[in-house]
Symmetry: C2
Subunit: 481 residues, 2 copies
């Protein structure tokens, strides 16, 4: 097992030896109950202490009236109590030697009410006097599968190499929906809300030094210290990809940011310039973020943009060619010696076989197999894009087996040549149960084989454009340095 | 039942009294078998005659050795035989008094081989001598649910008011995948391939006069007569929306078009100009096309672009605001009198309630219900956008019922005020079976209630931008005329 800690002073946040949850009740809808249930289920690798003024025990675990009554030491406190009860909790934490408090508690600075702004400041000031760091308020906290910390039932128990820093708890959830089924795995997810103490720069600095983290994704509404943040982006440039959503691009978005985490979202043009300057991969939805991250997770570095599109057919092939070129990829025509070779075994259809290599014109399985195998080895392209033909094959339930077969064939094409391959399996978003089952199966197969899968060519091409752009920049930086 | 025919000379195409299928075998994978099976199952409202040189009967229906042996009259022939056998079939069709031949048969002009180009021309010339019209070759033919004509098992049996003219058979299938589950219903789908005789202009002209068709969608790779086509677009302008994919936008796409249907795709800039001039709604994927069509099908005309975003919360709300404004919609702030009223029943959170009306800040069901009901009646917006909160509620299986409840509440908000409402239910594309089931249920509910549903705010906002753009143009045309 590789070293899982680093020397950064914030490493302790991700390796607490014990957790207390303040505000636990038997109400299954309450967040205190949920944190307890999740940490027991994951499980967290250390003692978990529920704190409750009214309950004796919840989920078979003894409750304590206050933090101070807990017999063992407490490193990490999750606060699910109302805002006006937080200050006494912080005072108890000081006595108890707590190192970090995560405030799920909300209704503080984000309300923009003077008394709440003051209270949030007082909480942080009190905590920092005793060296306690604060995550939040108004956030979901930390997910670190290595130690069994989580804020959602459905996040994976296995670790990966992607870190996500999100000012929004909802988006931390959203990334799971958009990518975990396709295989995304994380080193850490950090939902930090109002950033009253620890902020985006602290986490970015930590993750740049974290050996478990190879790719950094961020959802930001604002930054506390723009200069420090830009300096960190400069440090990341060409080393670890940073995939960023910067919300508040428009006037309505900026207003929404203010009422969400009371951040100052700053000027869009400045953000554009900073991202360009430091090679930050800017995306505009959680879906696009998941698509890019999946590419980074599964594909070896590739900076060339020449693609071969394989399988599927007809209008879908034309769309694929248009979309790839629109996204800045190249779809080179097949070289004449390959055309000649195809002519030798497919005299009737060789003139129709080009790039995209349209499966529907090949007049049979044998020609298709030979042509695609030849194409997959072609050194005139850098990346292979496979179309699983879902739209033809999932015409009726019997086709599900054929779709599986088609996918197996496509994903086997790189057995010998180890080229970067992505697959798209387009069967719409709205469909019948048996189609969905077939697609879930396809997804499972791609995940097992470590192949990024997308529901359409648009998303595949966009992800590849971002990915190749990053590696191209890395090459350029290496050339000049 | 409204009149289903029109006076256009091509109306006979969609109302054949009988169909013969040439090239039927017992092989379930063969297209001849499929057409027979589909027409029997739909069912086609008239006799269906399989023609086969080897079979006595298929699927319990007697086969005929040749067209001429069929006892009754034949209006419409579907040809699934190889290209070199087509000419004798056309000659038999002339004898038999056939009115239209649909050539599923391929490997003709699209091969770009001289002998095939000649053969295609000879087929058309021979047919036209006897007044027979040709659809194709290299296409799926006609779907007209009113008479039970179809080329796919899974197309709906009920009619609707959308027509789709597609040079690609695959895209005709794709539209079904992208939109039928959400409720898209069609008057006609026309897959016409190489357009050797009947072409895009013929079909567009027909559909402009078709009382069953209110919206026209087209997938084109090229046009045979640009001047005539532009003239028809001018006629459509402000009357029936035309939603167009013009493929071959890039050099790779143009090459792909040539090898698909041997069309000349023409210059991208010209197409852009024509679309702008005649208010054609240009889209770039079948998914985007389905999204727009769904809006036209379900929503009353609306040209105002002020939206209220309701429900969901956090980062998702910020993203929604950004996306709507980026797509050209407006997200106006709540007026002060509404804020005052909200303050009266939600003193603790009123300052957080804005547009988007973020469900996660409202601190409870009661405040949310009151606020959203008030928002839904607000005359400061033209369109309501509901977020079903899928990302929070589908956290674990018990949440599926809450998601259903949330959707019921959102879709009931327009009971009294009849405002245009669209819903987005974002739970990613890649997920577990129970999440998919919850989303299918949500989709079913929206379909029943006639509400367009989208898997994310990006697609909802883009569809609304196209839709409102069309109706704005209609208003302007009416003002000046």
């Amino acid at each position: 097992m590789p070293s899982t800690t680093n020397d950064h002073p914030l490493d302790f946040l991700f390796h607490p030896r014990s957790v207390a949850i303040a505000g636990v009740s038997k109400n299954k809808e309450s967040q205190g109950y949920r944190y307890l249930d999740q940490l027991l289920a994951f499980p967290f690798k250390g003692p978990v202490y529920p704190v409750s003024i009214s309950e004796e025990g919840v989920l078979g675990v003894q409750c304590y009236k206050t933090l101070k009554e807990i017999p063992g030491s407490v490193d990490y406190v999750i606060s699910c109590i109302p805002h006006h009860q937080v200050l006494p909790l912080v005072e108890d934490s000081l006595v108890k030697g707590v190192r970090c408090i995560h405030l799920y508690t909300a209704r503080l600075a984000e309300t923009q009410l003077k008394d709440r702004l003051d209270l949030e400041k007082q909480i942080v000031d009190t905590a920092r006097q005793g060296g306690i760091r604060i995550i939040g308020p108004n956030c979901m906290g930390l997910y670190c599968p290595e130690v069994g910390l989580t804020f959602r039932y459905s996040l994976p128990k296995e670790s990966g190499h992607i870190a996500f820093v999100s000012q929004s708890g909802g988006n931390a959830a959203n990334l799971e929906y958009q990518g975990v089924g396709r295989g995304l795995r994380f080193s850490k997810i950090i939902s930090y809300g109002n950033a009253s103490d620890l902020n985006e720069s602290d986490f970015l600095e930590y993750l740049l030094e974290d050996p478990q983290t190879r790719v950094i994704a961020m959802y930001l509404e604002g930054v506390k210290d723009g200069k420090r943040f830009a300096e960190l982006l400069r440090k990341a440039d060409g080393k670890k990809p940073v995939v960023l959503i910067k919300a508040g691009r428009t006037s309505a978005g900026t207003r929404a940011v203010v009422s969400h985490t009371a951040s100052l979202s700053g000027e869009e043009k400045k953000w554009e310039a900073i991202c360009r300057q430091f090679g930050v991969i800017r995306v505009h939805s959680m879906q696009e973020m998941a698509d890019v991250l999946l590419g980074f997770q599964f594909l070896q570095p590739v900076s060339g943009r020449r693609v071969l599109i394989m399988g599927g057919g007809g209008g879908g092939s034309v769309e694929a060619a248009d979309v790839c070129e629109t996204e800045g990829l190249e779809v080179p025509p097949l070289p004449s010696d390959m055309k000649d070779e195809i002519r030798s075994f497919a005299p009737d259809v060789w003139s129709l076989i080009s790039n995209p290599m349209d499966g529907s014109v090949m007049g049979g399985w044998e020609v298709m197999v030979k042509s695609l195998q030849m194409g997959a080895k072609w050194d005139g392209v850098d990346i292979l894009i496979g179309n699983s033909s879902a739209i033809w094959l999932l015409d009726h339930p019997d086709g599900a087996i054929q779709h599986e077969f088609s996918l197996e064939f496509l994903t086997d094409l790189i057995k010998d040549n180890n080229k970067p391959l992505v697959v798209f399996a387009n069967a719409g978003d709205t469909t019948t149960s048996w189609r969905v089952e077939a697609l879930l199966k396809a997804q499972e197969k791609c995940k097992e084989k470590g192949i990024p899968v997308y529901p359409n060519i648009h998303r595949a091409a966009k992800a590849l454009a971002h990915l190749t752009g990053f590696y191209k920049r890395v090459n350029q930086i290496e050339l000049v340095s």
